[in-house]
């Protein structure tokens, strides 16, 4: 460790950084090979409210001050990294809608899937002067300190895509999102349709401890138990919402249970992994092994078009317009229902090609 070696090691560091930047900055001429980027998708498909349920909440009942959004600082706390298609589409939608609504300033944070970070993010946004918060919760439970802080600051909170278990119209204004349990049920329906009621089903679970996993699993199982005695669940293994894990786990399951004839994946990524796994086992995905999943990413819908996946239950991430619309209504004094459940479409062999543009 002579003295002169020190700057030299720094030169190496610096050159590595430069090369790294160069690598990242290079554009790719054959972009169509890779998955579509959010910007290529355009506005896509706006959310439609299916039903509004629960007690209403008004500005007065919530105890917040009237506010003009064009004068307001709005904060959006995203839960998971934008590397997931769903999250990217969601964030983009919020950003676009914020511009559209003409808000003064939009603060965006990403909790990287860590609850403590989300609490901190929300508190930070509050101290940065946010007047209205849109939160995509990391977890249904545990946001209490953040919500309390917002309440103390008189800042209304709208939760999107995942409901929190706190008190409605006190801790938060409303929940906008899909019904994950219902998504599970509909996945069971779709699976029943494509398998004509007879199948040995392997389930690729999302990450353990995640309530999306729990709801999509519970809804599916309830429906199967209640309606479809011909569907037999032979295995449930976690693949952590990841494509490569979905592939690896599906490969193992297909090896030990060759009579598996259907796969239900909690998200599209695992389903796409399962497609590759089925192919690797020398079978035809979508034919020999029916595959149903939830989300509606472009890659998965394309896979339906290609005949590899049978059906995808949509989980629409484009909360922007609905969220700002709801906010405007709220400040206009209208009553907002506790649960604003959006209507999720279903992609299947009949409509996938036509609706490919809707996918995110």
């Amino acid at each position: 460790m002579t003295r002169s070696s020190f700057p030299r090691s720094w030169r190496v560091l610096a050159s590595a950084a430069v090369l790294g930047a160069a690598l990242a900055g290079c554009t790719n001429p054959g972009d169509d090979q890779s998955g579509s980027s959010p910007s290529a998708q355009g506005g896509g498909d706006d959310q439609v409210v299916k039903e509004s349920s629960g007690e209403g909440c008004t500005l007065e009942a919530y105890g917040a001050e009237k506010l003009d959004l064009t004068d307001a600082v709005v904060g959006f706390s995203q839960s998971e990294p934008d590397t997931a298609a769903f999250r990217a589409a969601e964030t983009k939608s919020i950003r676009d809608a914020a511009t559209e609504a003409g808000v003064k300033d939009l603060l965006v944070t990403n909790a990287n899937n860590e609850l403590p970070k989300q609490i901190a993010d929300i508190q930070n946004m509050l101290s940065q002067g946010a007047d209205f918060l849109i939160v995509a919760p990391v977890n249904s439970d545990g946001l209490d300190p953040a919500l309390t802080a917002a309440k103390n600051a008189g800042v209304p909170v709208l939760t999107v895509d995942r409901k929190v278990t706190n008190t409605h119209c006190e801790d938060y204004v409303a929940f906008l999102g899909s019904d994950f349990r219902d998504q599970g049920k509909r996945a069971a329906d779709a699976l029943n349709t494509v398998t004509e009621g007879e199948a040995k089903v392997a389930v690729l679970l999302g990450a353990s401890g995640n309530n999306v996993t729990d709801d999509r699993n519970a809804g599916f199982k309830e429906q199967v138990q209640a309606e479809y005695p011909g569907l037999e669940i032979v295995a449930e293994q976690t693949a952590n919402f990841a494509r490569d894990e979905g592939q690896a786990v599906a490969e193992q399951l297909l090896q030990s249970n060759p009579d598996i004839s259907a796969i239900y994946a909690h998200n599209d990524e695992m389903a796409l992994g399962a497609v590759t796994a089925v192919q690797a086992a020398g079978l035809q995905p979508g034919e020999d092994v029916k595959i149903v999943s939830i989300d509606g990413t472009r890659n998965a819908v394309q896979a339906i078009v290609d005949g590899q996946i049978n059906a995808v239950i949509e989980s629409n991430p484009r909360f922007g317009p609905l969220a700002f619309d709801t906010a405007q209504k709220f400040y206009a004094g209208e009553e907002i229902a506790e649960d604003v459940i959006i209507s999720d479409d279903e992609y299947n062999r009949d409509n996938a090609e036509a609706n490919l543009g809707k996918a995110f």
């Binding site: 030299r8 998955g35 490969e251 090896q255 030990s256 796409l272």
Partner: protein, 327 residues
């Protein structure tokens, strides 16, 4: 740990233990465990005995095995590399950005990026003298962030050459398995036959003595981390090729821990000075088969994690049995 050698006048320490059979188990514990687990599966798992099972396990072990081989070299120098998972992610993230220029070019860039990460780790450890675990921890944290910045959201990769790399076979043997075998053979050759390998174990065994013997300590250390980074990048690319997608957030997550476990279970001590290639291969296979067995029998996640914990500790405990008994 080395109470027996604390004293120059210590009696010669025997190679064989008081109970030779225990010593044999210690040295070959990983093979015994592997054989035992295979046996359990043969008896208790449906459809286990098939060529397909073998192929599947070999394919799936590939990424961890390739990383573990690089890790074995690093551990041989008394180092550790926590950054391998992040390097896998960086390599995978770069593939879709460059695949338009051709499969080979994209692979080259990815592996080069891995080698650069290794170079950084090597310089920090070999030249600056930073603790390996800390240097590579920093690279791991920053590297995963960089991979996400480069890669953005998950991308499917449909380049035919790349897809072929991941799922093609020759004489029924998948390319990825052949590549892993070639890497294993190469690393074995490096350790056993090359000057570099000799220098590596000497440096791991006694760095100061190696310096005084005129060995190029820094160069060997840096080379080792470069090789490890390069192999991690290769593993990342192969994993991406197999799943035909690049997911920088999730690729290679926690692979450093699996790789280190495989190396240690395979009999390479964390204290350096030894590299056991066959043991590492067996260790990686053992970890793979444990995972597969838990899936085969549809064991829930909770039980699976507890079982893995117990098996890992038991495996290492058996290996160290005689060393503890020496007192």
């Amino acid at each position: 740990m080395s109470e027996g050698t604390r004293d120059t006048a210590a009696p010669p320490e025997p190679r064989a233990g008081r109970r030779p059979d225990a010593d044999w188990i210690r040295r070959n514990g990983v093979y015994v465990a592997l054989a035992l687990l295979v046996l359990i599966n043969v008896v208790a798992t449906d459809n286990f005995v098939s060529e397909n099972t073998l192929r599947l396990q070999l394919i799936q072990v590939t990424p961890v095995l390739i990383v573990a081989l690089g890790m074995a070299l690093v551990i041989g120098t008394e180092g550790i590399d926590l950054s391998v998972g992040a390097v896998m992610a960086i390599a995978a993230a770069l593939v879709p950005l460059y695949i338009g220029y051709g499969t080979g070019f994209a692979l080259g860039i990815s592996v080069l990026a891995g080698a650069l990460c290794g170079l950084l780790a090597g310089v920090l450890v070999g030249k600056v003298g930073v603790q390996p675990i800390i240097a590579t921890l920093g690279i791991m944290v920053a590297g995963r962030g960089l991979a996400n910045l480069f890669g953005g959201e998950i991308k499917s990769i449909r380049d035919p050459g790349f897809v072929e790399l991941g799922s093609g076979t020759v004489f029924g043997i998948p390319y990825v398995v052949l590549i892993a075998a070639a890497v294993a053979a190469l690393v074995w050759f490096l350790v056993r036959r090359s000057t570099y390998g000799r220098q590596l174990v000497a440096i791991g065994g006694n760095k100061r003595a190696a310096e005084l013997a005129g060995l190029p300590v820094r160069r060997v250390l840096i080379t080792t981390y470069v090789v490890c980074g390069l192999l991690a990048a290769l593993a990342g690319v192969l994993l991406a090729a197999r799943s035909q997608a690049s997911d920088p957030t999730k690729i290679g997550l926690l692979v450093e821990l699996s790789a280190i476990t495989a190396v240690v279970i395979g009999g390479t001590p964390l204290s350096g000075g030894q590299v056991r290639i066959m043991g590492t291969i067996a260790g990686a296979l053992l970890m793979q088969l444990i995972t597969a067995t838990l899936i085969f029998h549809d064991i829930p996640d909770s039980t699976a994690q507890i079982a893995q914990a117990v098996i890992v500790v038991a495996a290492v405990y058996v290996q160290l049995g005689r060393r503890r008994a020496r007192r």
